[in-house]
């Protein structure tokens, strides 16, 4: 599974992308964030406040409780601020 991070999430994690292979029990975006938080202090800091995070699964916006079964690409980022 490819993970992408944007804006301050990218800066906190310390990378814009990484490839991971989460265990079978990790079935939602929220569970993925719990699992990722153990990888480094940067991950833990980035994912500490879930209200500040948004996600996309295979380039479609989803809620944090959305399933990630069969997802190829999961992106984690702050609320968007374009335009």
């Amino acid at each position: 599974m490819d993970l992408l991070y944007f804006a301050w999430v990218r800066e906190a994690v310390g990378t814009g992308s990484e490839r991971v292979d989460p265990p079978a029990g990790v079935t939602s975006v929220a569970a993925l964030l719990d699992w990722l938080a153990a990888r480094s202090p940067g991950h833990a800091a980035a994912f500490a406040d879930r209200t500040r995070l948004r996600a996309a699964v295979d380039q479609v916006f989803v809620a944090l409780d959305a399933p990630i079964a069969d997802a190829r690409e999961v992106a984690i980022f702050p609320p968007v601020t374009g335009g």
Binding site: L4, F6, A7, W8, R10, A56, Q59, F61, A75, F77, P78, P79, V80, T81, G82, G83
Partner: protein, 145 residues
């Protein structure tokens, strides 16, 4: 016709408007967003999600074109670093009559603000900070749902 661009190059407004006018309708509504320098911003940087950005803009333009029976919908969004006074975004809606053009133009920029994966960072006095999302933007986008 749907025209989408996500580009690091400056937005050529004259060319964009001429293309919209060439679609042959009676009413053309446009919105242009410009980097403001009035609160000390020296530089604005726009990060985006390559691939998803283009899909999001395509969908925003196509939805508006279908809902308001537009002859054309254009969204051009700049990414990367830009100076105060430079254009960030250009949106145009072309329709036979004005109300469709005006509503579609307003809807496209409102929906873009909350559903296109862009993130702004402002540089002031050498220090940079990510721009926070505004609740007013969510409310503006919800008007069109």
């Amino acid at each position: 016709m749907i025209r989408i661009a996500v580009q690091a190059a400056p937005i050529d407004l004259a060319a964009a408007v001429a293309a919209a006018e060439s679609d042959g309708a009676g009413a053309i509504a446009t919105f242009t967003g410009v980097v403001r320098g009035d609160d000390g911003v020296e530089l604005l940087e726009l990060e985006h999600y390559p691939g998803m950005t283009e899909r999001a803009l395509e969908r925003i333009a196509a939805d508006a074109a279908a809902r308001w029976s537009l002859l054309s919908a254009t969204i051009i969004h700049r990414v990367g670093p830009m100076q105060p006074g430079e254009r960030i975004v250009f949106v145009a809606a072309v329709a036979p009559h004005r109300s469709a053009a005006l509503d579609a133009c307003a809807a496209m920029i409102d929906v873009l603000k909350t559903t296109a994966p862009f993130w702004k960072r402002e540089v002031r006095g050498g220090a940079s900070a990510w721009v926070a999302a505004r609740e007013a933007d969510e409310a503006a986008a919800a008007r069109w749902q």
